[in-house]
C-alpha cells in the first residue's frame, strides 16, 4: 500500500500546484486590497486630521500654505470662560444621560433577555426612536416641555438625551445578556446568595463590559447631539450649541479648531480605554459551556 507508485507523484503535484495558484492570487488580491484600504482610511481620517493641523497654524484663516507653528489658539481656548462653561454643561449632561439610560437599559435588557410574553414586540418598539429623526424628536420634546411649563434648562436636555440614548443602551446590553447562561444565576441562588447579591456577584461582573460600552456609547451620543440640545437647552448651552454660535465670528474659528482637536484626542483615548476594558472582559467570558442550553 505504502509503495504504490501512483500515490506519490499525485501527492507531490497537487499541493504545489494549488499552492502556486493560491499564492499568486493572494498577491494580486493583496495589492488591490491594500490600495483600497489606504483610500478607505484616507477618506475617513484626512478631513479629521486637518483639524489638529490648522489648530497649530499661525493664521486666523483656514487655508494652505501653512504660515507657522503656534499654540496660541489652545491658550485662547483655555482662557475662554464661556467655552469652559459650555464644556462643563456638556460633561454634566453626558454623565447624567449616560448613567440614567444605562441603568434603565440594564433593567430593560435583563427582562427582555429572560423572554417575556410580548418581549420581542416591546424590544422592537423600544428601539424605534433610533429611526425617528432628531429634529422631529427635538420639536416634539420642546412642545411637551413648553406645554407643561417646565423651564428650558440642562435638566430638560438630560431628559431628551435619555430618550435618544436609551435605545443604544438597550441594544448594547441586550447583546451582552443574550448567551448569558441562566444557570449561572441559578447556581448563585443555589449556593446561598439572595437575588440582590447574585446580581452583584455574578450578573454585574459578567455584563460589566456591556455596561462600560453602553456608558461610553451613550455618553458620546449625548456629547455629539446638537439638535435636541439646541431646542431644549435654553440659556445653558452645551458645547455643540456653543460651537455653532461661535462659528458666526470668523476670528474665533481657530479656537474652535483647537477645541475640536482636544475633543478628538480625548475621545480617542476614551475609545482606547473602552476597548481595553472590553478585552479584559472577554478573557472572563464563557467560551464553551459544554452543553448549550
Amino acid at each position: 500500500m505504502l509503495r504504490r507508485p501512483a500515490a506519490s507523484p499525485s501527492r507531490r503535484f497537487a499541493p504545489q500546484d494549488e499552492g502556486g495558484w493560491a499564492s499568486r492570487s493572494t498577491r494580486h488580491g493583496g495589492r488591490g486590497l491594500a490600495i483600497y484600504a489606504v483610500l478607505y482610511l484616507a477618506f475617513l481620517y484626512v478631513p479629521v486630521l486637518l483639524l489638529p493641523l490648522f489648530s497649530f497654524n499661525d493664521s486666523a484663516f483656514i487655508a494652505f500654505p501653512l504660515s507657522g507653528f503656534t499654540t496660541k489658539w489652545y491658550a485662547a481656548m483655555a482662557a475662554d470662560e464661556d467655552m469652559r462653561a459650555a464644556l462643563g454643561n456638556t460633561l454634566k449632561v453626558g454623565a447624567a444621560a449616560s448613567l440614567i439610560s444605562t441603568i434603565l437599559g440594564l433593567l430593560t435588557a435583563k427582562v427582555l433577555a429572560r423572554g417575556i410574553p410580548g418581549g420581542a414586540f416591546f424590544a422592537g418598539f423600544a428601539s424605534l426612536p433610533l429611526f425617528i429623526p432628531d429634529i422631529v424628536l427635538g420639536i416634539a420634546l420642546l412642545m411637551l416641555v413648553t406645554s407643561l411649563d417646565i423651564p428650558l434648562s440642562l435638566q430638560s436636555v438630560i431628559v431628551g438625551h435619555v430618550a435618544i440614548c436609551l435605545p443604544f443602551a438597550v441594544a448594547v446590553l441586550l447583546s451582552r445578556f443574550e448567551g448569558f447562561d441562566v444557570a449561572l444565576e441559578e447556581a448563585s441562588r443555589d449556593l446561598g446568595e439572595t437575588g440582590w447579591m447574585t446580581f452583584w456577584r455574578v450578573t454585574f461582573p459578567l455584563v460589566l463590559p456591556g455596561i462600560v460600552a453602553s456608558l461610553l456609547l451613550t455618553f458620546i451620543v449625548s456629547f455629539d447631539d446638537f439638535l435636541i440640545a439646541f431646542f431644549l437647552c435654553g440659556t445653558d448651552t452645551t458645547l455643540p450649541v456653543y460651537i455653532w454660535g461661535e462659528l458666526r465670528f470668523p476670528y474665533k474659528l481657530p479656537n474652535v479648531l483647537a477645541l475640536g482637536s482636544t475633543i478628538l484626542i480625548a475621545s480617542s483615548a476614551l475609545i482606547a480605554l473602552a476597548e481595553w476594558v472590553r478585552r479584559q472582559g472577554v478573557s472572563g467570558q464563557p467560551r464553551d459551556p459544554g452543553i448549550g442550553i
Binding site: 447562561d181 447556581a187 443555589d190 449556593l191 461582573p205 459578567l206 472572563g284 464563557p286 459544554g290
Partner: protein, 350 residues
C-alpha cells in the same frame, strides 16, 4: 435508611398543556444514591428542580429532614445542585468558584481556606486553584461544579445529567469517582440520567419515570430482573417481546401459547385463561444451540461486541435478539434452535 429524610408527596407541575410531573411520591433515604431515570421529557429534571427550589410545584409537598421546604427559595434549602452545563462562574478562578457559596456561611477566613483546600483535594485538582473556567476540560469543570456544591455540606446533592457532556471513557471513570465521593461524604445524591447503564451501575435505588409519573422504584437488580411493567422492562436493558395468550392457570404455574411455542412458567398470576399477555425475555436469557429444541430459526445477523456476540435470529418471520459468549460461533444463514432460561421469562398483561 431513614424513611423520613427526603419525602416527596403527590408532587405535580404543569407547564401550559403538559403535565410535566404528575403526582409523584418518593421517599429518599439519608446517604442514599438515588437515580431518576427516564427518557427526555419524562419530568425527571422538573422534579429535580422542584427539590432544588428552582421551580415551584403546583400541588404536593417536599419535606427535607422533617422540615417542609416546598416553597423555600434555593438559597434557603440544604440542597445543592450540579447543573447540566456545570455553570462554573467564568469571571472567577477555580478557588473562588468553590469558595463562592461560603460567603453566606460567615466562616472565618482560615476555616474558609481549609474547606476550599479540602474540596480541591477531594476532586484531585489541588494545583488548579488559580485557573479560570475556560482553561478547564469538561471533566475538570464537572469536578469543580461538584466541589463547589459539596463544600456547602448540603443534606442532599442534586445532579442534573452531570456526565452527559463527557466522552464514554471519561464518563465511566467519573461514574466510579462520583460513587466513591458519595460514599466518602455520606450525603444523599439524587442523580438525573437518561442512561440506564449509568443508573444501574451507580445507584442504590432507581425511580423509572415516564410522562411525569414514576413507573417503578427499586434497586438495580430488581429493576432489571423483575420490572413491574412492560414499559420498565423496555427502558431498562434490551428485551424481546412476544405476544401470547394464557391457556391454563393451575396453582403456581401458567401455560402460555406464544410464537416460541407453549411455555409453562412457574409463577402466580391473577389473569385468567384466555387473557392476552406479553412475554418478555432478555437477550442473555435466550440460548442458541444446534441440538433440537422447541423452536428453530435462522441466524439473520451477527454483531461482534468484543466481550460477547449478539445474534439476530429469524423465527417465523419475527426477529429475536440473542446475546451469547464469543465461543458461540454461528454464521449468517445457519439454522439454529432456540431455548430459554425458564425463571428469567417475564409475563405482563397486554
Amino acid at each position: 435508611m431513614n424513611e423520613d429524610f427526603l419525602r416527596i408527596e403527590n408532587l405535580s407541575k404543569r407547564f401550559g398543556a403538559t403535565l410535566a410531573v404528575d403526582g409523584v411520591t418518593l421517599d429518599i433515604g439519608r446517604g442514599e444514591f438515588f437515580s431518576l431515570l427516564g427518557p427526555s421529557g419524562c419530568g425527571k429534571t422538573t422534579l429535580l428542580r422542584m427539590i432544588g427550589g428552582f421551580t415551584l410545584p403546583d400541588t404536593g409537598t417536599i419535606a427535607l429532614d422533617g422540615q417542609d421546604v416546598t416553597t423555600l427559595p434555593p438559597n434557603k434549602r440544604a440542597t445543592n445542585m450540579v447543573f447540566q452545563s456545570y455553570a462554573i462562574f467564568p469571571h472567577l478562578n477555580v478557588r473562588d468558584n468553590i469558595a463562592y457559596g461560603l460567603r453566606s456561611e460567615r466562616l472565618s477566613a482560615a476555616e474558609r481556606e481549609r474547606r476550599v483546600a479540602q474540596a480541591l483535594a477531594m476532586i484531585k485538582l489541588e494545583s488548579y486553584g488559580e485557573r479560570r473556567a475556560h482553561q478547564l476540560s469538561g471533566g475538570e469543570r464537572q469536578r469543580v461544579a461538584l466541589a463547589r456544591a459539596l463544600v456547602k455540606r448540603p443534606k442532599v446533592l442534586l445532579l442534573d445529567e452531570p456526565l452527559g457532556a463527557l466522552d464514554k471513557r471519561l464518563r465511566e471513570a467519573m461514574q466510579i469517582e462520583l460513587r466513591q465521593i458519595q460514599r466518602e461524604v455520606g450525603i444523599s445524591f439524587i442523580f438525573v440520567t437518561h442512561d440506564q447503564e449509568e443508573a444501574l451501575s451507580m445507584s442504590d435505588r432507581i425511580a423509572v419515570m415516564e410522562n411525569g409519573r414514576v413507573l417503578q422504584v427499586a434497586d438495580p437488580k430488581t429493576l432489571y430482573e423483575q420490572p413491574n411493567s412492560r414499559g420498565v422492562a423496555d427502558f431498562v436493558g434490551t428485551v424481546n417481546f412476544f405476544p401470547g395468550k394464557i391457556i391454563a392457570v393451575t396453582g403456581d404455574s401458567v401455560a402460555v401459547e406464544t410464537a416460541l411455542g407453549r411455555m409453562t412458567l412457574r409463577r402466580r398470576t391473577n389473569l385468567a385463561a384466555g387473557a392476552r399477555v406479553t412475554i418478555v425475555i432478555r437477550p442473555e436469557n435466550l440460548i442458541l444451540s444446534h441440538e433440537a429444541a422447541a423452536v428453530s430459526g435462522r441466524i439473520a445477523a451477527v454483531s461482534y461486541l468484543g466481550d460477547r456476540r449478539q445474534f439476530q435470529v429469524s423465527i417465523n418471520g419475527a426477529t429475536v435478539i440473542v446475546a451469547a459468549p464469543n465461543s458461540a460461533a454461528f454464521g449468517i444463514g445457519e439454522p439454529v434452535h432456540l431455548g430459554w432460561v425458564p425463571d428469567a421469562v417475564m409475563l405482563f398483561p397486554e
